[in-house]
Symmetry: C2
Subunit: 213 residues, 2 copies
């Protein structure tokens, strides 16, 4: 498989984790979003939305990280990333979507650039924006994680889509110096996931293009 990716992208991180968990080998093609690599005509032909990740599996072209995770789980079922029961699957997908569809879209490069170049907002104001939406998500996620369904991970003791998204949220929170300490379940699960090889190898700061510290 071939993965178009950016070191700092939460969405790319999610896909790297899933591929690692399922033991699927890949070749990475690194784009630097803050330098505008995604606007090149060659990449635009692959991903007209000009975002990462894109995953190529043979002649199948996949976009949108959550759609990619669901595809990987259907096409390469072991180990599963979703529980079997529809109610539990909905819970896991709901937790994942708090990250994927609520907070993360608000802090991606194109949005931060709009705040900078269209709204002329300074860096502290832009960072406050990112921190605000991170904290809103962490608050919502933590409220859900107080449920009895939570175990060692977001749903019981098996790793699911929700944990992959939680790990990407944790990496994002660190980039924007968000205080995650008040969110006890979140922090406990994030720390536990970070010790797992499939997560550790996929981490943004372990990718080409990442800063040394």
């Amino acid at each position: 498989m071939k993965l178009y990716t950016y070191y700092r992208s939460q969405a790319s991180f999610r896909v790297r984790i899933a591929l690692n968990l399922k033991g699927i080998a890949r070749e990475d093609s690194f784009l630097h979003l803050e330098k505008g690599d995604q606007f090149d005509a060659a990449y635009r032909a692959i991903n007209p939305q000009m975002v990462v990740p894109t995953l190529i599996d043979g002649d199948v072209k996949l976009f949108q990280s959550l759609a990619i995770l669901e595809y990987l789980d259907e096409a390469y079922p072991e180990p599963p990333l979703l529980p079997a029961d529809p109610q539990a699957r909905a819970w896991v997908r709901g937790l994942a979507l708090i990250n994927v569809a609520d907070s993360h879209p608000l802090i991606v490069p194109r949005v931060r650039e709009y705040l900078e170049y269209e709204f002329k907002l300074d860096e502290p104001t832009r960072i406050k924006w990112c921190q605000h939406w991170h904290t809103a998500e962490l608050t919502a996620l933590e409220a859900h994680l107080k449920d009895a369904a939570t175990g060692r991970y977001c749903h019981g003791d098996a790793i699911t889509l929700a944990d992959i998204c939680l790990a990407s949220q944790a990496a994002g929170a660190k980039f924007f110096s968000v205080d995650t300490a008040p969110f006890l379940n979140f922090t406990r699960i994030a720390n536990s996931l970070s010790t797992i090889d499939a997560f550790a190898r996929a981490h943004p700061l372990k990718q080409p293009g990442a800063p040394a510290s």
Copy 2:
């Protein structure tokens, strides 16, 4: 089933369409997000994120519209909202997520309120923001809809999750006076969907609380 909903919410619209398509009866509980009904303690206990929709199916409590749509498709499989093949499912989910996880999160009430009260931006500037992200999504979606997979609807001639999300995007675009005419496939599919009873009855402007015109 019981659905907590708001007339104007794109996410609630999606769930109403799916319930109608599957012929599932429901009782609606209407919240007015712009008046702050979602912050009441009673609703907060049901949905700690204080957003709509929430769907109650017996003792199952469901949140996040896309997780709800996937649940409905698993628990009430007829008619299906996803094709059978993993590649086609990924395509449909990818199209849906362009709406659910990219543009829609940027124009919801809580974000518009942040622009107004924190950034002190006037109404024309806020509307321009909403139009910008709508148009970015429409551009990306239209590029994908030029694919041979597109038929009468987003994927062939059967209604899928992607069409439900496209219809919600069309309703949102109208609220913000976005020019959708240049997006030919989008407009053709949106017009076609609007004539289907399950979509028409679910439309935001047909719900209690909606303005008369």
